[in-house]
């Protein structure tokens, strides 16, 4: 290991070393050692100049969170680190299936993760998540939660997951490019083959892509009926040559106007509409998905105290409200709702009228594990 420098460094030497670090020609360790900054930090740390909360010790210095893209305010984690001394490593995923696959394979190192409502019963059944000790989450208040969105976190009276936010899966349309009206999933798939030829995107995700194809044909979003799935497969394979892409990361393509229409989650719809008002977010009049995301702690978590600490931090309304402002999802917590600015609570993308929600369905646990839906997706993608 490089030795710490003990003699003073001149300003010119420091600048030269810093430029070498920036160019990448020396390692950070080398930089800290030769400039003496490493020694300075080590001494200040030891003498308690920058020491943190008393419980910093038991929380460790590192934790890992598994979540979705564009889903948090980065400032939240910086503030959490400043408060507790625990740095949060954030991993993002494209589907619940992928999260489950990683946990089943083991060794994820996640201390907290964000599963969607329909997966929690499977995680609990497989023993992959802990029952939560709510005494460690004093800032969570079940009384202020909207049960409609939060009940799937509790199984047999035991809390396995606490709600993060709810949302919907709708259609984002660039109305500057597409003139045909799109008000339903039926029209989504029609326009994708006509005016929107080569410009529409569907998720690389069985739940929503197959689910919305089923809805457009008048079936349930959650169907695992062989005949209905066959019809949905037929539709998807017919539409496929007209699609721009099969990809759950659709924001870049929509922003570049490579794509004009996509399956879209509430938060992405709100973010796209905020930056490009010509992009509208529409809920299918024929149905679709309503969902809620939760926080859960994997049984295999290495740093559960830190997992609980971040969970409690995020359940605190003053912190949660910033997350909602950043990611544009609706809250399940009336305390947070009261703190949100009026322009957000009045945003119809985030808080649609109740009438628009009545036909939407929550995803069902069976879709997560049903091999038939997985095979339909594989045939659609390889067609």
């Amino acid at each position: 290991m490089t030795k710490f420098r003990t003699t003073p460094i001149t300003a010119a030497e420091l600048t030269a070393e810093f430029m070498r670090l920036k160019r990448g020609s020396v390692t950070r360790r080398h930089f800290l050692a030769v400039t003496g900054l490493g020694a300075a930090a080590a001494i200040m740390g030891r003498s308690g100049v920058f020491s943190l909360d008393a419980h910093a010790q038991e929380l460790g210095t590192q934790m890992s969170l598994a979540t979705w893209p564009n889903y948090h305010d980065p400032a939240t984690f910086e503030a959490f680190t400043a408060k507790t001394g625990v740095a949060v490593e954030v991993n993002v995923f494209g589907s619940n299936e992928e999260m489950l696959a990683k946990l089943q394979a083991g060794g994820t190192g996640w201390d907290l993760f964000v599963p969607t409502n329909y997966t929690i019963s499977t995680y609990a059944k497989l023993g992959l998540i802990d029952t939560l000790d709510l005494s460690k989450v004093p800032n969570f208040d079940p009384a202020t939660q909207n049960q409609r969105f939060t009940n799937e976190g509790t199984i047999d009276g035991k809390a396995y997951a606490l709600p993060k936010n709810w949302g919907t899966t709708g259609i984002a349309v660039n109305t500057g490019k597409l003139k045909a009206p799109v008000t339903s999933w039926k029209e989504f798939f029609e326009v994708a083959q006509t005016e929107g030829d080569g410009r529409a995107m569907v998720h690389d995700y069985q739940l929503t892509t197959i689910g919305n194809a089923l809805v457009s044909l008048g079936y349930s979003f959650n169907s695992v009926d062989a005949a209905e799935l066959a019809k949905a497969e037929e539709l998807l394979i017919k539409v496929k040559p007209h699609l721009f892409a099969i990809n759950s990361d659709y924001q870049p393509a929509m922003r570049a106007t490579d794509a004009w229409m996509t399956m879209c989650w509430t938060n992405d719809g709100a973010q796209l509409n905020r930056d490009m008002p010509e992009i509208a977010f529409i809920l299918g009049s024929d149905g679709g998905e309503i969902w809620s995301d939760f926080y859960a702690i994997p049984t295999s978590a290495a740093n559960k105290p830190a997992g609980y600490a971040l969970l409690d931090y995020l359940m605190t309304p003053e912190n949660a409200v910033k997350e909602h402002i950043a990611n544009g999802t609706p809250t399940t917590d009336s305390r947070v709702l009261a703190l949100l600015p009026a322009e957000l609570t009045g945003n119809k993308i985030v808080y649609p009228d109740e009438a628009a929600l009545t036909k939407l369905e929550f995803g069902a646990a069976v879709t997560l594990t049903d091999p038939a839906r997985a095979e339909v997706m594989a045939r659609f993608k390889s067609a």
């Binding site: 696959a101 089943q104 594989a378």
Partner: protein, 288 residues
């Protein structure tokens, strides 16, 4: 204690070979055996693996026939394109280029390799996206040309990504070429084209075969380029494998496909080897 010279030599050989042998055992042989065991198992109801002994997974292989067909089509086509583009470059580098510029030119081909393929492929997403080349074409009166997320984009990405692997072996075999053979051919009245076909090409064939085999085998497992430049619509066996392990969590079926892919690679390599032997007229030709 004095050891016999022969014993000592074999001990040294064993010592030198041991790291590589352990590496292969730990990271190739054992995982392959685990994969083989999984391939005869069953998918657990929630995904994963249930011990069993069944041929179900192998019988189910036709369910990914399209992915196999796409891959077996793309790999040779991609390798041929690399060859067509790469041979003239290698020829220029080895035969025509000024020797004092050669190091610089070879570096220009190798240096991009130091940047992650992911980053370079993302760059292609912007070049081929509607704000890139299609935008320029639009300005000169060719509107509505789609490039990104087409099979053509995947081919461009593949040729770009794998070209150095084709150029280098050909360059090496051409560089060793004895120039006096070319002079002799010319002295005996051969035109440049017949010299190329009769002398240069056959002598560079080992490099051509090595490059082709290298690119073909790597393309059989390619996943990233079709995913990013094909928009998820171009589906190869690598993509099927990723989905089977990360989405449907069907480990046994994924293992069966992976085992089959290994068998296909071995067969492809064996065929390429035979062709190489026939061309070279000797079995002293190594592909990889």
């Amino acid at each position: 204690m004095a050891l016999q010279a022969g014993t000592r030599r074999s001990l040294v050989t064993a010592g030198l070979a041991a790291p590589a042998a352990l590496w292969l055992l730990g990271f190739l042989v054992l995982p392959f055996l685990a994969m083989l065991v999984f391939a005869f198992g069953q998918r657990a109801p929630e995904g994963g693996y249930l011990p069993a002994f069944t041929f179900e997974q192998f019988l189910n292989l036709p369910a990914r026939a399209t992915a196999f067909a796409n891959t077996l089509m793309l790999a040779p086509v991609g390798a041929m394109l690399c060859l067509v583009v790469g041979y003239p470059v290698a020829y220029y580098l080895a035969i025509r280029a000024e020797p004092r510029h050669r190091l610089l030119l070879v570096s220009l081909i190798v240096v991009p390799f130091w940047t992650s393929l992911l980053v370079r492929t993302y760059a292609w997403m912007y070049i081929l996206g509607s704000r890139g080349l299609p935008n320029l074409l639009d300005m000169i009166g060719l509107p509505d040309i789609r490039m990104l997320n087409t099979p053509g984009a995947v081919l461009v990405g593949i040729v770009y990504g794998y070209l150095p692997l084709m150029i280098m072996p050909i360059y090496v075999s051409l560089e060793k070429l004895d120039r006096r053979l070319l002079d002799a051919s010319a002295d005996l009245g051969a035109r440049p084209l017949s010299t190329f076909i009769g002398v240069t090409l056959p002598l560079s064939m080992p490099g051509v075969m090595t490059g082709t085999a290298l690119v073909t085998i790597l393309l059989l497992g390619e996943y990233l380029i079709p995913q990013l430049l094909g928009g998820g619509k171009v589906f190869f066996i690598g993509n099927a494998l990723v989905d089977l392990f990360l989405q449907s969590r069907n480990w046994p079926f994924g293992s069966a496909i992976a085992v089959t892919l290994v068998v296909v690679v071995v067969v492809v390599l064996a065929i390429a080897m035979r062709i190489a032997w026939r061309f070279a007229g000797t079995r002293r030709v190594d592909l990889v």
